[in-house]
């Protein structure tokens, strides 16, 4: 599988949180050849199961990679000299400073290309030139008269950012929605990795919905699938100029395995052992309270699910130039695959027993 093509297909599809029906068919096509069942649930998550070879009832590992992205939504249609413009608000954690001057797709009755506009600095009063625009200032211009805009666009229509994935040097790429389509790509690579290998556990691969707004798909899919263990895969902060040394990671430095309250120590250790067996370089990430990922939701479904968290280092998060190293995506896929092939019938009882052991001196 060509990782660039995979990422290009995934990131260039516009699907803000709540509008996963745009991206789910794309992921479904990628995963279908590798899995036994696949379907969309009632909140819009895509759930695929690849059966293991152990006798039933088999233990299940859930992999959660969210497929939604940040975006915008139309709040008003306004008129200026016969032309129609759109006011918008954010869907998910959009960085307000970078909305101005973006290219967008308005998902109306038909898809319209537009730009996010306002006045250039020359025409702004001096005291406003250095300040970011708020949503009350910005409009989307689709270049149409009011009547055509009203015929094609309604309040509540989703708007996605539009940006092609581009190659930088080496295996670096830059584009939008690498958060978190990079992880969807990693899960795809994992499923492909498993094709030639045998594994005891069932693998439940979930492309979750509405992570950016409320981790919806994590909570709900963990409930419906009742896995024995789960791993969330999401992007994490890449090192770069200005970034602190703490909890940021080299692009190309390998997957980041997280420790912290959202993570079961047994999963952390299991992922480390899988990396060791592949002689793969990894880093350890930490979170002290809330990981800000699907792991938070997965962990507390039903009577609790031992959960792990794997991160892919990424610079410029929540912008249209999110950047990462494709090697990290590929390694993350292989790491998950290796972890899965190593799972045996005793994995859960072993990691549970380890919690009961006395602290070693």
């Amino acid at each position: 599988m060509d990782t660039f093509k995979l990422l290009k297909t995934l990131t260039e599809t516009g699907a803000p949180s709540g509008f996963e029906e745009q991206i789910a068919p794309v992921v479904q096509e990628l995963w279908e050849p590798f899995v036994d069942t696949i379907s969309v649930d009632r909140v819009g998550s895509l759930i695929a199961v690849k059966n293991g070879r152990a006798p039933e009832p088999r233990p299940r590992l859930l992999l959660a990679a969210h497929m939604d992205e940040i975006g915008l939504m139309v709040t008003q249609i306004v008129e200026h000299e016969g032309n129609g413009f759109l006011r918008v608000t954010n869907v998910g954690g959009v960085d307000r400073r970078q909305v101005y001057a973006q290219l967008v797709t308005v998902h109306g009755r038909k898809e319209l290309h537009g730009v996010v506009g306002n006045l250039p600095p020359h025409l702004l009063p001096e005291d406003r030139r250095d300040k970011p625009y708020g949503y009350e200032d910005l409009v989307i211009d689709v270049g149409l008269p009011l009547a055509d805009v009203e015929a094609n666009v309604s309040v509540g229509d989703f708007v996605s950012f539009r940006q092609p994935l581009r190659k930088l040097q080496g295996k670096r790429v830059s584009g939008k929605a690498l958060d978190n389509r990079a992880s969807v790509a990693a899960v795809t690579i994992c499923l492909e990795y498993l094709q030639g290998r045998s594994h005891d556990w069932d693998v439940v691969a979930v492309a979750t919905a509405q992570e950016e707004t409320r981790l919806l798909g994590a909570f709900t899919s963990a409930f419906s699938q009742q896995p024995d263990a789960a791993i969330a895969i999401d992007v994490t902060f890449g090192k770069g100029p200005g970034a602190s040394d703490e909890n940021t990671f080299d692009l190309g430095g390998g997957p980041v395995i997280d420790r912290g309250p959202n993570v079961h120590p047994g999963l952390y250790q299991g992922l480390q052992e899988a990396a060791d067996s592949l002689e793969m370089s990894i880093n350890t990430g930490t979170h002290s309270r809330y990981s800000g990922t699907d792991a938070f939701g997965l962990q507390i479904a039903r009577d609790g699910i031992p959960t792990g968290l794997v991160g892919i280092p990424l610079r410029y998060m929540h912008t249209m130039v999110e950047s990462l190293d494709m090697k990290d995506v590929e390694r993350t896929g292989r790491l998950l695959g290796e972890f899965i092939t190593r799972l045996d019938a005793d994995f859960i009882s072993n990691i549970t027993a380890a919690l009961m052991e006395e602290e070693k001196a």
């Binding site: 008003q76 608000t89 009350e136 509540g156 707004t213 709900t220 409930f223 419906s224």
Partner: protein
């Protein structure tokens, strides 16, 4: 219908103290329900059976209202209080509140030095006419709701608690008009919405619906210097697409629009920047629910003069009936 509205909007029922509301609503729905339950948190659930061909649909309208709770009685007999839900200090001066035992209190604040500034809530007090803790008819932990009579002026209806007794009215009226439905419909009159959409959470976990529709008020953009919002009083039912707590199920939004179009029911599309509804809880319950909301446009929300339009209320009822009377395909 104004009689029913008046009965519900003038009643007492701050979050956590909804017993009286339940007693008021129960007789209104008894004749139209196949079964009525009250769950452990106090949600009143009226069930209308379907013919077995449809889905499990939960309708949620919350019975509770914002209010205040006594935290301290001064030695002079004045009551300091905290908020129950989103009580706004600038709406409080000179308000009247009523406790469960009927005691009326007047709200005022400590001396105001700067008339341009509003005191925080802990500088307000309630005067119930007592002169010491000994002759004070209420005590710490007692809750009060606001007092304000219902008013109908033309098509505009005003009350202290349109949020969300008008949603309860929409649910009750829809139950009355719904002759038959393919769906198993749970009309949940929920508790504790104003303190974190809590009643709907447990009800949805228990009922495990396929589809959840909240009935609640939304803000409007049609008053002087309003925050821009494409919702106006009198322009029809509001179909929620997004609020700050959830994004409605895209398929359910489409279905609502189709049903409204087909029945020529006026509607508006709602993108709300502040606040959320019981739909937020229903959406994330169990394995997830296809959740949405029919909103009643309302001016001056969380003040004692919440104002809706009777035509919009009618549109909401009609839309709900159209949705429930027909198959739901998402």
């Amino acid at each position: 219908m104004n009689e029913l509205i008046k009965k519900l909007v003038e009643a007492y029922g701050p979050s956590g103290f909804e017993d009286g509301m339940r007693d008021l609503i129960r007789p209104e729905v008894e004749a139209y329900a196949d079964e009525i339950r009250v769950d452990a948190l106090g949600n009143l659930i009226a069930i209308k059976n379907g013919d077995g061909s449809g889905l499990k649909v939960m309708i949620a309208a919350h019975m509770d209202e914002i209010g205040v709770m006594v935290t301290h009685v001064t030695k002079e007999g004045f009551l300091r209080f905290t908020n129950i839900g989103g009580v706004l200090p600038h709406n409080l001066m000179g308000s009247r509140v009523q406790f469960a035992n009927g005691t009326i209190g007047l709200i005022y604040s400590d001396r105001i030095e700067d008339r341009g500034k509003i005191h925080p809530l802990n500088k307000f007090y309630i005067d119930v006419g007592a002169s010491s803790p000994d002759d004070c008819p209420v005590s710490v932990g007692d809750a009060a709701g606001f007092v304000r009579p219902f008013m109908a002026q033309g098509s505009r209806l005003t009350a202290k608690t349109m949020d969300d007794r008008i949603g309860c009215v929409v649910a009750i009226e829809a139950m009355k008009r719904l002759k038959s439905t393919p769906h198993q419909v749970y009309f949940a009159f929920t508790v504790q919405e104003e303190v974190g959409v809590r009643g709907a959470m447990t009800a949805a976990n228990h009922l495990d619906p396929d589809v959840g529709i909240a009935l609640d008020v939304t803000l409007t953009g049609d008053v002087p210097e309003a925050r821009p919002m494409a919702i106006s009083l009198g322009k029809g039912a509001a179909i929620k697409v997004k609020d700050s707590g959830m994004i409605a199920h895209a398929g359910l939004v489409r279905l609502m629009k189709q049903r409204a179009d087909a029945a020529s029911i006026p509607y508006q599309l709602e993108v709300l920047d502040g606040g959320s509804t019981d739909a937020r809880s229903m959406q994330i319950a169990n394995a997830g629910t296809a959740a949405g909301c029919i909103s009643i446009p309302c001016r001056y929300v969380h003040s004692q003069s919440e104002t809706v339009d009777a035509g919009d209320v009618e549109s909401c009822i009609q839309l709900l009936v159209e949705i429930l009377a027909n198959p739901i395909e998402l």
